[in-house]
Amino acid sequence: MGDFWTQHGPELLVKTWEQLYISAVAMGLGTLVAVPLGIALTRFPRTAKVVIGLASMLQTVPSLALLALMIPLFGIGKLPAIIALFIYSLLPILRNTYIGMQGVDPVLTDAAKGMGMTPLQSILRVELPMAMPVIMAGIRLSAVYVIAWATLASYIGAGGLGDLIFNGLNLFQPDLIIGGTIPVTLLALVTDWLLGRLEKRLTPVTEREGRRAA
């Protein structure tokens, strides 16, 4: 164990950072695109079917194939990896945002509109807070997937913990495989936990004792 650390310690830190960086950027972009898009789609239910169908289709492309497809378009390195992972992150967030927004009690949107809220005020003050738990569930799911799949990004030269794992596979060094896999798992778990905390913060309180809307 100590041996492994002295030999691969600095490399491990760098690769973990790369993994995190690729995932975080992809997730950030995914959230920025998918949440507003999901909200917009609730205003156009017919378009929504088409767009969500399209996103589902992209999801079915094998991850390795998608990464490979990026090479002719964006070359190799971090950029194509981020773009591929971004595409993967879209669907869970998009679908959950759409479902969450649709699930807001129509009584509340009716009351909001009837009292004179503009559509934007209604979204920001009523619908988004109400839909937050569902949207956050989508983001958490997406984040775990993206962190796991970022391992494959090593194939197209994006770096990350995949480098360690694939090295271990090529060189028949189980300790490298394990040493690369454990940080990925930990990264995913910690991210999920942190996002869980964030979800709690963002979910509006509905009772004084601090019970939050489910």
Partner: protein, 401 residues
């Protein structure tokens, strides 16, 4: 309180959905300032649609709709809605906002300063008799009745003059509902608000409304005050909606004396002799005679007792005429008359018209019918002849007193 200044005017309003579904058609209706208008009808009658067009939650497809004298399309829809209070059936309090935030939602949209909002919330929560400590609570911590109280005052928070209410108490238990009806009615009267209230509950409409609008199939069937509606239901549909039981119950409240009196009572003129009088009494099997002049004006009465005592000394009816007679006006409400007849122990009361001419009499027997119907309803009679039996008590001219 009711001035005739129109607040909302529907001018031949129609609402046809795409696909030709007609929700409302040719609705013409004026809602005056201070009115408490109840829109009543079965589901699908267009009552909610009609209400929701006022704050442009729905857009009419034909006709003009005016608010405060101006076409509603000359207002910005969002600004218009902030001027009109809105209370819905499912209360619609925002679960993630405190009661304070809920009450002051519209003032906040209107960018009132915090201090003014706080003040308004304090004032309003007092108005609905809830403790000020509730302001910091969340809706989930309040009972359904308390929540709807907040729902009601939320519609008053920005000093809206017009409040729309869509079956606001439908989901509440009867006791809570009644308390809230009282509250709304007193608020409306106290604050001089104009209310448009959608309901399918006739009791509620009769209790609250100053004007009831009965709707069916997207049309207005009748617009009338509650008393007028009970007295003259325009169609069988309205009768059904009111319910025969209520119509019968309402008889005592709205029936006039003239409607149940017996016509052509036995009467005599003062100039006639006492022999004529006794002959008439015998013929008609009565013990008193009403005395009228030649034009039919009621002068008094004579009874068999005074006739018996005086027939030796007197010769004409006028000599023994007792002018102290209790009578009622034919347009007087029966419910006011019943008590007096019963309390005074009178066998009958003469009924006069506005010129004091004798028109008929009300007997205790007629009251029995009425009270019987009120207590027992029409359960043992076919419903078809219902209240009409009371109105049309055969006025048999030969029937004595």
């Amino acid at each position: 309180m009711t001035t005739t200044e129109p607040m909302v005017e529907f001018d031949d309003i129609s609402k046809v959905y795409r696909g030709g579904n007609v929700a409302v058609e040719h609705v013409t209706l004026t809602i005056d300032r201070g009115d408490f208008v109840c829109l009543i009808g079965t589901s699908g009658s267009g009552k909610t649609t009609t209400m929701r067009m006022i704050n442009r939650m729905l857009e009419p497809t034909g006709g003009t709709l005016r608010f405060d004298g101006k076409d509603i399309h000359s207002y910005d829809a969002v600004q218009l809605r902030r001027k009109i209070g809105y209370v819905i059936q499912n209360i619609g309090l925002m679960p993630h906002m405190t009661i304070y935030e809920n009450i002051t939602l519209v003032p906040k949209l209107l960018k009132w300063p915090e201090e003014k909002r706080r003040e308004k919330a304090q004032e309003l929560i007092k108005l609905v008799e809830l403790p000020a400590a509730f302001l910091d609570r969340y809706p989930a911590e309040l009972s359904g009745g308390q929540q709807q109280r907040i729902g009601v005052v939320r519609a008053l928070a920005a000093n809206q003059d017009l409040i729309l209410m869509d079956e606001p108490f439908g989901a509440l238990d009867p006791i809570t509902r009644e308390a809230l009806q009282e509250l709304v009615k007193s608020l409306q009267e106290k604050l001089g608000k104009t209310v448009v209230f959608v309901t399918h509950d006739m009791d509620e409409a009769l209790k609250l409304a100053t004007k009831i609008v009965v709707m069916d199939g997207g049309h207005i069937i009748q617009t009338a005050s509650p008393a007028e509606l009970l007295r003259h239901p325009a169609t069988q549909f309205v009768r059904d909606l009111i319910g025969e039981e209520r119509l019968v119950q309402a008889q005592a409240d709205i029936t006039t004396v003239g409607a149940i009196m017996l016509r052509d009572p036995v009467s005599i003129t003062p100039g006639r002799s006492l022999q004529d009088a006794i002959a008439l009494m015998r013929k008609r099997r009565v013990d008193t005679l009403l005395v009228t002049d030649d034009d039919g004006h009621l002068k008094g009465f004579i009874d068999i007792e005074s006739l018996d005592n005086n027939y030796r000394r007197s010769t004409s009816v006028s000599d023994i005429l007792n002018p102290k007679i209790f009578y009622v006006h034919e347009s007087a409400l029966l419910r006011d008359t019943v008590d007096r007849i019963l309390k005074r122990g009178l066998k009958y009361v003469p009924v006069v018209d506005s010129a004091n001419r004798l028109r008929g009499i009300v007997t205790r027997a007629a009251l029995v019918d009425l009270i019987y119907d009120t207590i027992w309803g029409e359960t043992d009679k076919p419903p078809a002849d219902d209240a009409a039996t009371v109105n049309a008590t055969p006025a048999d001219p030969t029937k004595g007193v």
